[in-house]
Each structure stands twice: as C-alpha cells, then as structure tokens.
C-alpha cells in the first residue's frame, strides 16, 4: 500500500482501508482485494520493495517494505514468506509509521541537575565508558550489567554477551525475554536437553486438532490464527480454546473450555491419566525414546531476595508415574479446576486418538506461571506418551512474543546462565566461547549471577550500580514495579537507556542514547520456528541515532577491547554474524550463511547441506539424528526425552476475603508490548487509546459497574484506578478481572506480584489477588 506522508488525510484513509483488509483477511482467509492493492501504488512512483521480518511479534511474518525517496512509506505481506504467505496483521501493516513518530529520540541526552540536556554521541559514549570503568574499579565487575530484550537483533545480543561475559567478565547479562519465555526454555531443556520447538508452522497444514493452552491467538498471533481458521475452512480441523477467560479466540474456536487459574497443571495430569487409563499410550515410542523422572516439589515462589533453587531430578518408573496420576482422575480434577470430567475426557480423546494429529500451542499463559517449567513439561508429557511429536502435524509448539526472543535471547544466549553455545557452568562451553571471542577462558565466570527480577533487586540493594538497558521498557513491564522504579532512582545508580522514543524507562535514565530502529540499520531476527531472517538497512537513521550493536562496539573499544571488537563499521554486521555462526557449527544447530538469509525469506536451523530443518529429532527430516532409529532426542546424552512427574501446586497468592478477585494481565491486538511504538501509530492509538479493567458482566451488574465507570483495583502492592469494560472484547469469569499492560499512563504492574517459577525465574503476570471497588 502506498502511503504518502505528505498528505495526512489520504494516509489515514489508506490506513483505514488497510485495517479493513486485515480484518477481512482474519475472518475470511484467502480473501482477495488484489486490484485495489495495485491501484493504490503510486503511478510512475519509485517504490522499491525490500524484504524484512516484521518488527513486532515473535511470529516473524515476512513483510515487504516500500521505500520511496529514502522513506519507508508502505508495507505489505511477503507472498514468498512461508510464515505468513502474504498476510499481515494490523500492527504489521502499520509498522513503518512507528518509525516516524514526532517525538523520536534523535540526539543523545545526559541528565544534569535533574534535567536532560543534549550532548554529542561521542561525549555520551565517552561518559558511559568512563562510568563503567569507575563502577568496576569501585565496586567490582559484577556491579555493571546490561539488560536487553528479544527485540535485540542477533548482532546486538551477540556483542553485548561478548563484551560483558567475555571481556569484562561478568554474567550480568539478561533480557526481558526472561519475562516472557524463560519457562519455555527450561521446559525444553528439562524435557529434551535442547531448546526451541521441534516442529514448525507447517504443522498447521497437517494437524487435525489444535489445542490452545491459555493462548489468545486471535489477538496475539492473528496471522497464525488466520492460518488455523483457513485450515478449518479447507479441512474441517477442530480448534479447542483452553483458557481462563473468554476471548476472541474462544469465540472463534469450536470449543471453549474455561479453567480456574493455575489448575492447568491438574488438567494436564488428568489428560495423562486418561491416556494411560484408556490404553492410548504409544508403548513402543515411550519404551524406546522416553525416560521418567520426578523433581523436587514445594519449591516456593521466589518472593524473597536472593532466593535460590536447584532441582534434584530422580529417575522413576512408568508404574510410579501411573500411581502418581491416581490423584488426577478427571473426576477429582473437575473439583479443583472447574473443568468438567467430560471436557477433560474430550480433550484427552483427541490426544489419544491415533488417527488424529494434534498441535498444542501456547505462549504467555503457560510461561508466565509460577510453575511455568512444570506446565511446559506436562504438555510435552501428553505428546510423548502418545508419540505425537516431531512429525508433521503432531507438534507441541511454544510461541513467542518478541521478534527475536528465539534468535537473540535463546540462540545467542543473552541470559545470565547462557553462552552462544551452551551454558556458563560448563567448562568446555566456556573454553569454546572464549576461543572464538579471543579472551582468556578464565574471564567467563562459571556461575550465573542474576536473573531479571534478581538483577533489579540487586540494583535496589546496591549490589549492581550500573545498568545499560537497550530495546526494552522495564519501567512498564517489571512486576511489583514500584520497588524497581525506586531502585533505579536511588543515589549511586547509573542507568543508560538506548531507545527510539521517550518511555517511563528513559525517564529514570542518566544517559539516553537514540537508537536506530529496525530497517534504519542492518540485522537479523530469529522467530518461533527456528527461522533466522535478515534485513538490510533501507533508510537513514533519524538524527544521530545509532544501532544498538554499534553503540556497544563503540563503548567496548573505549574500554580497551579493540582487539575483540575489530569490526569495520561498514561491514560489521556480516563480520559479527560470521563470527557468531562459528558457535553453532555442527548438525545440531548450524546457522545458514548470510548470503542464504539475504536471498531467502529466512532459513531454519539446523541448516545443513544447504537445507533448513523443519522437524527436529525425526531422522526423516533432521540430519543430526544418529541413533539409527526413527526418532532421536539427541539433546539428552542418552538420546531420550523425559516424561516428568510434576504435581499441581497452588499459586502463591490466591483470592481471599480481603482481596477476593484474581487479577490477570495481558495484551491487546492493537498494541505491541508496552505500546511505545504502536501508540505512536495514530490509527492504532485511536483504536485502543488506553488500558481498562475487564469485568465479568454478571458481577459488574451486581456491583453497579458499567463500561467507562472508574474502578479501583487494590492489591497488597498498591492501587490503581482504571475505566471498566463490561461485555466488550473479553469476558472474564466471576471473581476474575483482566487488565492489559500496554498503557504507560496506567501502570498495572505497580500492583502485580514478583513471584516467579523457581526453575525458569520467569514471573507470573497472570495471577495475584485483587480487591475491586467502584470509585
């Protein structure tokens, strides 16, 4: 779609058309308005269409960006992309508008006497380097830290890890992906010994049944959801929405099953009980490819500072597992979960039917969970017991929310315990990384330091004194936010924030660096299906904005690491990527060469002999399988996957007389993450201008609350006032409320709880107790 920025009204009109086309495409997959799309292109214009992965969510849609006279003026779905097949969601279509918000940060700013003053990039980078040196000298190397995100490109995260872990020698590297998919990582690691989904989006074209575990795909992954709807039209597939609240996804599903918060653990176990009880176990698969284990229970919830937990896995037998499941008969689980035994048996029957291919999909509902690792394990249990895994259409699939949560955070390893290949606790892995990084192996500490919540607690305590925050907005996203905002503002803390717009996080900065955004620089993202996608620099950065990669390189050089950061400014992305690829050499994780990424709409690792791998652990598709069997779970030394005995345990804070409601937080289709980009897109901002609290309609009536009324939410952390929403987009159950978190003017995370999964350290944003009052 051509959109002339010189004619605002015409532009808005085209945006209105695009919104309608997107909505129509969601309702009627495959709908065509092709003539109109062609008609909108400028007559005789010089539009140059260049490919990129979308800037926003983790689906990784391929888009074509229309460049006209040095400006990005249009976006359309890339028909060559196997991810989205030419479709785009409302955010994707509008994505280039987020580059041109009128308050883009274009100059470095330094806080002096409480006010930000402009400075040059050179002076700002000098100041950052000198502050880092001073902090390390005064408090030690573990007093400096970097906090990035799944929006980091692969080169951004790579140089951050290399500088902090390899050169400075601290494992204080974290990313906000800890807040959104750490449980998925630990789920994969504990069940399979290696991270990321074994399947791919093509599973959608083969599966007969889709079970969505607490995943509002219609709003959060609309393009993939439209692919599900398309398959229903073509093949009559079934979509089961298993959730705590009725959403657009529930309304579009064939069946909506509502469960009480946290009890997905019990229901998953009940499905396993049914599978075993009805003789639906794929015995040959389980005997050949699975082990049974149990771990520690009653782990706590990480509410106290310096909380530490290490699981102690112990082998068990199939009979032990069967005995354990006696507590999870559908009838018993009905009482705790609110899901009827009939519905539990209904779900189990699809998983158990050898003639049905089943895809399980999940995202934040399972990951933002104080037992997030466990619930990931339990869904894998279901697929492993039935042998429905690692083949087209049989696929447990963990979705992500950020464009490179997989590519940068999980694969580059920008978490405290990770390295690009392996973990810091493994001597061989440290030595391997150190060799490529050209640093002494002793530089890399053998012990992880702080996961995200603990990193901000360390900042509060004064154990960390310097933090560099890039491409994320923790002053909106941290749970129990007030504590961590106060921590950042304490005396003796120095905070650097690299971003493209002012946010509540830039508010607490000492130095703000303007970052080049997305196609203003060159880079790569890695999406949820192990697909790495390249984008070239298409336009000039705004003002003095600089890529996050080059900001780190400049500071590294100032810190004396010229040898390790030898990169040439003109070719540094290629040099960094080629260096990074060395960490993943071998059949299990080889990355595609850059020229392939430039030519193709992405490539899926392991990329071996010029070919992407669609299904891992299956010898028919995966070149890393070497045990001579059809399946090989080579992430674990014995080549087997693990079926875990994990019980149901309650949430740390449950409704009581004082706080009688559950509070669940989440997202909306119009806004991506904290809205710092999408709220600057007029059509999206107008569509969803601010947050709200969604109430159960019956209960709202009893409380005489109508849409738009002011409602006070009080938790043990504080209170917030929000306008009510009744019977509109979503419908919560009785004694439950929902609030989206995108609105920086209504910070719901001021009242959420910073409890986390003891294994993944990922906080639970979906459950805490709250009191509701009409104001």
């Amino acid at each position: 779609m051509y959109t002339s920025l010189t004619n605002r009204r015409e532009f808005l009109k085209k945006m209105a058309i695009m919104s309608a086309m997107t909505a129509a495409a969601t309702m009627f997959p495959g709908i065509l308005f092709a003539e109109e799309q062609e008609k909108n292109l400028p007559k005789g214009g010089n539009l140059d269409w260049k490919k990129a992965p979308c800037r926003f969510c983790g689906v990784g849609c391929g888009v074509l960006v229309g460049i006209d006279n040095g400006k990005a003026v249009a976006v359309k779905g890339d028909p060559k992309s196997p991810v989205n097949k030419g479709l785009c969601c409302v955010k994707g279509y509008h994505s280039v508008m987020s580059i041109y918000g009128k308050d883009r940060l274009t100059k470095p700013l330094v806080k002096k006497n409480g006010k930000f003053v402009e400075t040059s990039m050179k002076e700002a980078l000098d100041l950052i380097a000198s502050k880092m040196k001073e902090t390390i000298s005064d408090y030690g190397k573990d007093a400096v830290s970097i906090y990035g995100s799944g929006q980091w490109t692969i080169p951004d995260g790579y140089v951050a890890s290399k500088l902090f872990k390899g050169c400075i020698g601290t494992n204080n590297v974290e990313a906000n992906a800890r807040l959104c998919m750490a449980s998925a990582v630990t789920g994969f690691m504990t069940s399979f010994g290696i991270d990321e989904p074994m399947g791919c989006y093509e599973d959608i074209d083969h599966a007969d049944v889709f079970v969505l575990w607490g995943n509002n795909m219609a709003e959060m992954h609309p393009v993939l959801f439209s692919r599900l709807l398309d398959q229903r039209l073509k093949r009559g597939v079934k979509i089961i929405d298993f959730a705590t609240r009725t959403t657009r996804t529930s309304m579009a599903a064939d069946k909506s099953i509502i469960f009480q918060p946290q009890t997905d653990l019990a229901v998953a176990n009940a499905i396993c009980y049914e599978i075993i009880n009805n003789g639906w176990v794929n015995k040959a698969f389980v005997e050949k490819h699975c082990n049974f284990k149990k771990g520690l229970t009653n782990m706590g919830y990480g509410l106290e500072d310096k909380y530490n937990f290490n699981d102690k896995p112990e082998g068990i037998t199939f009979e032990d597992f069967k005995t354990f499941l006696q507590d999870y008969t559908p009838e018993k689980v009905e009482k705790v979960s609110g899901v009827s035994a009939k519905d539990i048996k209904y779900m189990a029957s699809y998983y158990g039917d050898p003639n049905k291919k089943v895809m399980s999909l999940w995202c934040m509902g399972m990951n933002q969970h104080t037992r997030g690792t466990w619930i990931n394990n339990l869904v894998y249990n279901i697929h492993l017991l039935t042998g429905k895994i690692s083949e087209p259409g049989n696929s447990p699939f963990s979705l992500t929310g950020q464009p490179s949560a997989c590519g940068t955070v999980r694969e580059v390893g920008t978490l405290t315990h990770k390295l690009p290949h392996g973990v810091v606790t493994n001597k061989e892995h440290r030595e391997f990384a150190a060799k490529i990084w050209d640093v002494p192996a002793e530089n890399i500490p053998a012990k992880p330091s702080y996961h995200t919540v603990e990193m901000f607690r360390a900042l509060d305590r004064g154990d960390i004194r310097f933090m560099w925050i890039q491409v994320t907005n923790p002053m909106v996203t941290m749970p129990k936010l007030k504590r961590y905002r106060d921590a950042c503002e304490k005396e003796g803390r120095f905070i650097v924030v690299s971003d493209i717009y002012p946010t509540p996080t830039t508010d607490i900065a000492d130095v703000i660096l303007p970052s080049a955004m997305w196609i203003e620089r060159e880079g790569m993202y890695g999406n949820s299906e192990r697909r790495t996608q390249y984008f070239e620099q298409m336009i000039q950065p705004s003002g003095e904005a600089m890529s996050d990669t080059w900001q780190i390189v400049e500071v590294a050089k100032r810190l004396g690491y010229e040898k390790q950061f030898y990169y040439n400014e003109a070719t540094h992305i290629e040099e960094i990527y080629n260096e990074y690829r060395r960490h993943h050499e071998g059949n299990k994780h080889a990355m595609a060469p850059l020229e392939v990424l430039k030519a193709e709409p992405g490539a899926q690792w392991p990329y071996v002999n010029g070919k992407s791998t669609k299904w891992r652990f299956n010898a028919e598709y995966d070149p890393a399988c070497s045990n001579g069997e059809q399946f090989h779970f080579y992430g674990n030394k014995d080549g087997k996957a693990v079926i875990w005995q994990r019980p149901y345990e309650p949430a740390p804070e449950t409704p009581d007389d004082d706080y009688p409601f559950w509070l669940c937080t989440g997202r909306v289709v119009e806004h991506w993450h904290t809205g710092s980009m999408t709220r600057r897109i007029p059509v999206l901002h107008k569509a969803m201008p601010h947050a709200y609290v969604e109430l159960n309609p019956e209960q709202a009536k009893e409380m005489q609350i109508r849409t738009g009324d002011q409602v006070k939410l009080t938790t043990r952390r504080g209170e917030i006032i929000l306008p009510a929403s009744v019977n509109e987009r979503g419908v919560p159950e009785r004694n439950q409320v929902f609030v989206p978190f995108f609105d920086e003017n209504m910070l719901i995370n001021d009242v959420t709880l910073d409890a986390f999964c003891p294994i993944s350290k990922q906080p639970d944003y979906k459950k805490c107790a709250v009191k509701i009052e009409k104001v």
């Binding site: 009204r9 808005l12 009109k13 945006m15 209105a16 058309i17 919104s19 309608a20 086309m21 909505a23 129509a24 309702m27 009627f28 495959g30 709908i31 065509l32 308005f33 092709a34 003539e35 109109e36 119009e670 059509v683 107008k686 569509a687 969803m688 201008p689 601010h690 709200y692 969604e694 849409t707 738009g708 306008p723 929403s725 509109e728 987009r729």
Partner: protein, 78 residues
C-alpha cells in the same frame, strides 16, 4: 473530520445491488472483495453529525445485511 472503514455484508445474492447503492453515496468509497460476499466501505465526512447521518443512510440500504466498523474497531473505551 472522521474517516472510517467498515466491512459490509450483503444479503444473499445482493452484492452487486449493495455495491451500486453504496457507490451512489458521494462520501462513500467501496472496495468489493473479489472472491467473497464482502465489501470494504470507507467513509469520509466533515464532522460527527454528518458522519452519524451517513451511517444511518448506509444502514437503511435494503441489500445490506450487516455493517461492522473496523477502523476504530470495538475499543472498550468510549
């Protein structure tokens, strides 16, 4: 100066009739889907009063089965 987009669903067999009726209204632009019984309608008016009158006029068209606003969506905040 409201600009709005809608999805218009015609009654069965009335797509052409609906396209004709809508295109005769000067402040409406119509984009029919090529392979579905669905139309995109874009309205452009000078103020809210005019916008409301136009919406009533569209809704009165006999061949129209359902009109759903898209640009603006169904935001819960009024």
């Amino acid at each position: 100066m409201p600009i709005k987009s809608y999805l218009a669903h015609p009654h069965e067999g009335k797509k052409s009739e609906l396209v004709q009726a809508l295109t005769s209204i000067s402040s409406c632009e119509v984009i029919p889907a090529e392979n579905n019984d669905l139309l995109i309608v874009i309205t452009e008016t000078t103020n809210n009063t005019e916008d409301n009158i136009l919406k009533e006029k569209i809704e009165a068209i006999e061949s129209l089965k359902l009109l759903a606003m898209v640009s603006g969506f169904d935001t819960p905040i009024k």
